[in-house]
Symmetry: C2
Subunit: 641 residues, 2 copies
């Protein structure tokens, strides 16, 4: 079933060709465009844009914010460009052009572009690859430039990007006069492949390959820097690369060559960006060994190091992975950006293979780990996404290190690109249930795919085909991993399908008006974790469709930690239109361990006061909606009774 990468690479239906009109997503995407992006632009003005202005005006000091602040502007530009690809918005276009002018004006003659170093330490460029993030910022510039070019056809930002990419290509390499190093924070690899795909300039692809191939080699530049702190620029010494005083590159996946890596390690956003770039290279080169590495890493992550919410990276100290089955709940880091990174990586893994399992992981992350990252009103953000809270973890308006909000914004603004794909023989994939339509080309014929759905709440989705001439193709409609029972009908006639196949694939001649309807069973599932996960032992979590549920104190008559669930007890779902912008809740009987008699003792001998079990009710809401009401305790995994 595994296809040979390269030969069969699939392509997303481009963002500009997908129109979303969906009950679940419309409000979120509108809020993203109208509120979140605006909010982010306001934040840029005081810090990131100010840095570009200072460079433009020839100042030589006064840098504001984090040393990689430039990336915030680039991420905003990328998100805004996605909006321009799908929405006519002259005001936004003008603002984007102004920001691009600022960015272009801050570029040095040789192509170098980084306001921190230009303002503060021009002599120290490229001296602290571990921590100072020049290549990481460059990557975000390239991604913004590609998005802008694709949305507008214009080259204003693309010219800035290619000039900087050319400069980087001059500086880095294995030649005698080259700097032989790789980024401490990955991201430029995937960005260079994007740049290559738009410009057809093979040097960019080769530079990405260089960064991937040189990573994790012995006696690397990254290692050298940690032992030569006096020769590294910037404020941030690379101490986090030291373990007991010795070099340990695992923080940035540089502990060994990528082809020898078997477990996902280190800073999880860096890991996702690296693996995404590697997948892009595999798509270009078809290298089997790299592909097998990705499969090994993916298997490790998805079977041992991923939360039920699709979140990854439990440890806050290094924002990353630890060991197999360490899935701590209340102190989970599970950075929003890492879940987004998982979306990026899984999107690419699907494109390499056409396999639905990657979209299963993508969807889990999207509807849970990512969606929880932003408040319903679009103005507050989680950096960390624990699966349990004692009531003191809340979204914030912005962060000192503001990577998550603009990352959410750019993903949401490009959501259309994740819905449909086409294979090399023009066969068509419907991967996410998001209402709207997509314009595609099948054998030279203009076809419109329509999708009507009330996913993730309702049970029915209809995919329609509008075409003037009949077309011969295969339509693959994804059947999610969580679905065990689906009724499929073609123009009203029942089809016999295997829900475990990943896709309902219908190969036929399609004429205008044809439609495929899928009716999912959407039961409430009580999920359990692998017995090796200590933190979820004897616990269940509710899931319905792609949505993981949690309980919030405000909906309960007891503290969440006092609830005990009978996994076999009946529960009901209830459509609550006024709750959290409209959700379906899960409700049922439960038990509670009460403690009226306990008193103050923190510890007692067993049996002294047998905890009394009383009747209680449980109301669960989708995890993505938590912390949008009054402060209170929350948990996803509930002890069984």
């Amino acid at each position: 079933m595994t296809r040979t990468p390269l030969a069969d690479r699939l392509e997303p239906v481009p963002l500009a060709d997908v129109a979303i009109d969906d009950a679940f997503w419309n409000d979120r995407l509108e809020t993203n465009r109208e509120v979140t992006l605006e909010h982010q632009y306001d934040q840029l003005g005081e810090r990131s844009l100010e840095n570009f202005r200072r460079v433009r005006d020839g100042e030589t000091s006064g840098f504001q914010g984090m040393w990689f602040e430039d990336s915030d502007t680039y991420k905003w530009l990328e998100a805004a460009s996605y909006v321009l690809a799908t929405h006519d918005d002259p005001e936004l276009k003008e603002r984007v052009d102004e920001v691009i002018d600022l960015v272009a004006a801050a570029q040095e003659e040789n192509g170098y572009l980084n306001t921190y170093f230009t303002l503060e330490e021009p002599e120290n460029r490229w001296t602290n690859l571990n921590m100072m993030h020049e290549l990481y910022c460059a990557g975000h510039l390239f991604e913004a430039a590609v998005a802008h070019h694709r949305a507008t056809g214009e080259d204003s930002l693309l010219d800035v990007a290619t000039a900087f990419a050319d400069h980087i290509d001059d500086v880095f390499g294995t030649g005698e006069d080259d700097l032989d190093g790789v980024p401490g924070h990955e991201g430029i690899e995937l960005a260079l492949v994007k740049l290559y795909r738009v410009t057809s300039e093979e040097r960019y692809r080769d530079l990405a390959q260089y960064f991937v191939d040189r990573r994790g080699r012995e006696n690397s530049r990254l290692e050298w820097e940690t032992t030569h702190p006096d020769e590294t620029g910037g404020d941030v010494p690379p101490d986090i690369f030291l373990e007991d005083g010795e070099w340990d590159g695992s923080y940035a996946q540089a502990h060994k060559p990528i082809r020898e890596q078997e477990t996902v390690e280190g800073h999880s956003v860096r890991a996702m960006y690296l693996y995404s770039g590697v997948a892009d290279l595999v798509a270009e080169t078809g290298e089997g060994e790299l592909y097998e590495t990705l499969e090994t890493l993916w298997s490790n992550m998805t079977t041992k190091r991923m939360y039920l919410t699709g979140g990854i990276g439990p440890e806050s100290a290094h924002e990353g992975f630890t060991v197999d089955y360490d899935l701590r709940n209340r102190t989970a880091y599970a950075e929003t950006c890492a879940a987004i990174g998982s979306v990026f990586w899984n999107h690419r893994m699907f494109q390499l293979t056409g396999e639905a399992r990657f979209y299963d992981v993508l969807e889990r992350a999207l509807y849970n780990g990512v969606l929880a990252g932003v408040s319903l009103d679009g103005t507050e953000f989680f950096y960390e996404n624990p699966l349990e809270s004692l009531g003191h973890h809340h979204r914030k308006g912005w962060f000192q290190c503001a990577c998550c909000p603009p990352n959410v914004a750019r993903l949401f603004a490009s959501l259309g690109e994740y819905v449909y794909a086409q294979g090399p023989e023009d066969d068509v994939y419907v991967n996410l249930y998001v209402g709207g339509e997509a314009d595609i080309d099948v054998d030279g014929e203009d076809v419109t795919l329509t999708q009507e759905t009330d996913y993730p709440w309702g049970e029915s989705t209809t995919v329609g085909v509008e075409t003037d001439a009949p077309i011969e193709t295969t339509l693959h409609v994804r059947v999610p991993e969580w679905c065990e029972d689906v009724a499929v009908s073609l123009n009203g006639e029942a089809l016999d399908v295997d829900p475990d196949a990943g896709y309902v694939s219908v190969d036929r001649e399609w004429t205008g008006g044809d439609s495929l309807t899928l009716d999912f069973a959407l039961p409430v599932k009580r999920m359990v974790a692998h017995p090796n996960v200590p933190d979820d032992a004897d616990r269940v979590a509710f899931q319905r469709g792609p949505l993981v549920y949690c309980v919030e104190e405000t909906d309960l008559d007891v503290a969440p930690s006092h609830l005990r669930i009978d996994p076999e007890a009946d529960v009901e779902t209830r459509a609550a239109a006024d709750l959290l912008d409209g959700v379906h809740t899960i409700e049922g009987d439960a038990r509670a361990v009460t403690n009226d008699e306990w008193g103050d003792d923190l510890y007692r001998e067993y049996g002294e006061t047998a905890g009394e079990e009383t009747e209680a009710t449980v109301t669960a809401i989708p995890y993505y909606g938590w912390d949008n009401r009054e402060e209170g305790r929350m948990r996803v995994w509930l002890p069984t009774d």
Copy 2:
């Protein structure tokens, strides 16, 4: 029952008058003297002592290590002085004198003494009270000086301390020309009271009172520093005092005046040192309001924020307290120094009140949270003391921030001071079961108390009285909180006692050869936590006597997380002389959830693969002994079946 503080203050029987000869402690204390202290001295040579040498030699740069590195030398001097108080060791004495000479040579003419500022930023003294720890280091100097003076009668280090204390007293205060500030890291308060007690110089006590009283006031110097980073010296900006960009002094208990504080907050070592200093002031001044504050804080800590091991402070990011009932196990911070700080504080609370409950907490911390901090061979140390491990948490030989190892060393070296106490009417307290003898004075009569015990393993302890003349006094022998059944006999005659009274108190005329024998029942207890503690729900922990137990993977036939315990099942204790320098293990039948059929899925629907329960055995070892054998998983709290 609560005594009026001040009037009834109790005094420890001084260290020099207590000789320890105890099966449990002898090896630990010898290792502390012979190995740990030596190991620490070696470490000092490369960093802390080098700084003193550089100042002595007139250098003006080259500071080594953390900015508060001086405190390591002071803590070593303090610990070494305790050894000198109890052991004749001319070599050590010579080494101590050499180090004191170095310290004295680094002191400036006006009394100021801090090698970081003298070497690196002489112009920036006292400009960053939040983070640069000048007052904290001074406190450790004072403690070392008092210990040295008490051990040797010499003034060589005491003169250095008083000169610096006088300088600090000149600099700080509320007068017009004074710097009105308090330390970001407490410790000097208790040290100043020690200095006052040795010198009778009331200014030192008053300066401690000033630091306590000014703490947490509005518009403080600490707050001012956070908004004037350009005017603060040192490398470490006080960012940790900011919450969302706003001042929040809770990290250092400076969020409100101490008399208004009701919960233990912030960095837990700082908190313990502050409360210890406050208790010392209460002992001197008898202030009721401050005493009530301590009772409130103690109640909050011991009923809502303390691990079963006596560890405190669950959160690593700020090394401290969070919220009530947040007692995360695997990611517990529970710094060794914080447990030691709890020993310091509870020791003082006992001295104020004569109440056994403070020794119950002290003993819990000492035998578990503290003792686990050092390896059996005395050369490796835990900074963090989680109650569960996936096998990747290990002691280390030293730390970049090396506060814990010397703190363990000074506590162990002064253990004798924690065993006995005397009340104002010469009544005598036996607070810890540690074999040996103590020379005390009762109404002018020289008396020797002897103690024979095989605590914490065995059930019998005998306290003997040796005196030439009969003495009329009350002997109070502590009955630990964990003990519910104790048989007490006086010279072989049974006494009727209430095990819940805290002490067996026998008021009589004692003659030489009298003895009081206590036979404790030492059953294995299955402890449970308050139902509000989410992480311990449906779990039990074994405890026997003062020792909390854990399971280590190496002793089990299944992974620790697969074990299920029947809290009512029988278990046995077994003396294992060859195991971990000799421990009693707890052994019994258990169940295990096996997962042979599970496969790779990380998550599944409940019921798909019912976890099968199989028979297993459980072997538990004392928590203090974990991570002294091969690497493996560990846990204290075990799920019930």
